[in-house]
Amino acid sequence: MTLVLFASFFLLLLLGVPVAIAIALSSITVLIREGIPLLIVTQRMFAGTDSFALIAVPFFILAGDLMAKGKVSEKLVDFADSIFGFLKGGLSIVAVLAGMFFAAISGSGAATTAAVGTTLVPELKRKGYNEASSASLIAASGTIGVVIPPSVPMILYAVIADQSVARLFLNGFLPGTLMGITLIIIAINQAYRRNYPKGAEFSIKNIFKTFIDALWGLLTPVIILGGIFTGYFTPSEAAVIAVNWSLIVSLFIYRDMKLKEIVKIISRSAMTMSVIMFIIATSAIMSWILANWNIPSIIAAGVLSLSSNPYIILFLITLIILVTGVFMETASALIILTPVFLPLINQIGVDLIHFGLIMVVGLSIGMITPPVAINLYVASTITGLSIEKITRAILPFLLGLLTVLFLLVYLPLMIPMIF
């Protein structure tokens, strides 16, 4: 039966059936074979989406989309530029730093790539930076979008694994910052080899001025994350506050958007989120099947009979996460993999928050590994470069991010560093 479930699922996927529908149809096949009334299908689809915690998903997407369209990303870039622009290859540092700022506003990798890319690419071109390298650096920085909170994949993981969203968010800062620093080091190295130009002179006055300009954007993470960590509001409420805040900023402060544009952005985000939520809905059928027949526990027992060394098991799981990320989009991969691995992770005694971070960082790397690599596609659309060109240039950054991932897998096993 496990075989029927997984074989039919993969067959449907390869035929090009959408992930959500492939999950549903393979589950229905099993239910029919086992003679279970199909009423459970609609019942589970309803139960899967009827969740207050998941309300954070549409609104962190919407807040990110609203901020990406308006002037906020421009101001964040200017602020980062005033701090690091004077260095050799300073614009590369600015790209990563702006990505990290934006990651603290947006919960998705694509929105982060789009926000930073649209603002910075013309500037990078003008200053004679290598185009493919710059595009790939922006795509790579976009991965930080889901690691530094807020993060849509973290919310999904928290709901599936029954963990605290706030704790996951809190623990996302360190790996996210580490990813940023790694990318900056690689970018500076390239800047020296290619002799990139310096930017404007360093001036405290300029830093202060751009800081004030960017303040509205920079306040967003302070409000939403501050609210969540103090327990003042739930992550779902924080997401709605983020939307209200970005509406106020773009309508009344920067006045960079018309009402009509906002309506359009809301409709687009509604579709983006419903694509994820529809997978959540149908995967609720599959997770019922998994739980009913104890499939994840059977898989766990099978793996543990081969090895019970957490180092080896985590290595293999991380490989599976990375390979899945190559072929699948982040949210769908996370929704499918998480319930399968949970019992195994519990048995080897790894903290579920730690595992959530591995999952999110591992799948975020999947955003820059083709054929399914959303950030590369966004970067390609912005720059007009081919995916092949950007892919070739992304290798050093990819290796850097992989290093961070394996540090994240193993360091917390040796040093207690998950809060």
Binding site: I55, S267, V372
Partner: protein, 170 residues
């Protein structure tokens, strides 16, 4: 008027209505949760806002899913299908939409059965008849079913005007 054009038109008309409905569910959620926060901080906590927001999330999920289906936005593994020559690709596309249609038909049937089963149930705080909340599931499945027939016809007769290919939200 031939049948292809009729289906195309129906698919398009329903979609433009659903676009507004989805927009309203999102605005409804923002309003409900904003009120929840405001009332909790300044007055007394509301009892209905969380439930309303949850049901609106269900509604926006399934309504939005129909829009995403019409625009081909649902995440799929396409790089294998795209590697085939045009003829095979067409057959695979038709097969994929057909399989999706089978799923939608199952959902329509069992969605309505589920509504009937819960006919007398009301929600905990809004006292809303639950059958109306559940109705979005069979409703969206009917809509996606119509879209999938339209999609299949578009693959077979690609030269029709007003194809959904490349359609954006406007």
């Amino acid at each position: 008027m031939n049948i292809i054009l009729i289906i195309q038109k129906v698919s398009h008309k329903i979609d433009s209505v659903i676009k507004y409905m989805t927009f309203l569910t999102i605005i409804g959620m923002i309003t409900a949760i904003t009120m929840q926060i405001v009332f909790r901080v300044f007055f007394n906590a509301l009892s209905w806002s969380e439930e309303a927001a949850r049901y609106l999330l269900v509604w926006s999920t399934f309504l939005g899913a129909t829009m995403a289906y019409r625009r081909g936005m649902h995440i799929a593994v396409t790089f294998i299908v795209e590697a085939f020559p045009a003829g095979t690709r067409k057959i695979l596309q038709i097969l994929s939409h057909f399989l999706a249609a089978v799923f939608f038909i199952i959902i329509v049937y069992y969605g309505i059965r589920y509504m009937q089963m819960q006919a007398i149930q009301v929600s905990a705080s809004l006292r809303l008849p639950m059958k109306y909340v559940y109705a979005v599931i069979p409703f969206s499945a009917i809509v996606m079913g119509i879209h999938s027939v339209n999609k299949i016809l578009e693959v077979i007769f690609p030269s029709q005007p007003g194809n959904t290919a490349g359609e954006e939200v406007s």
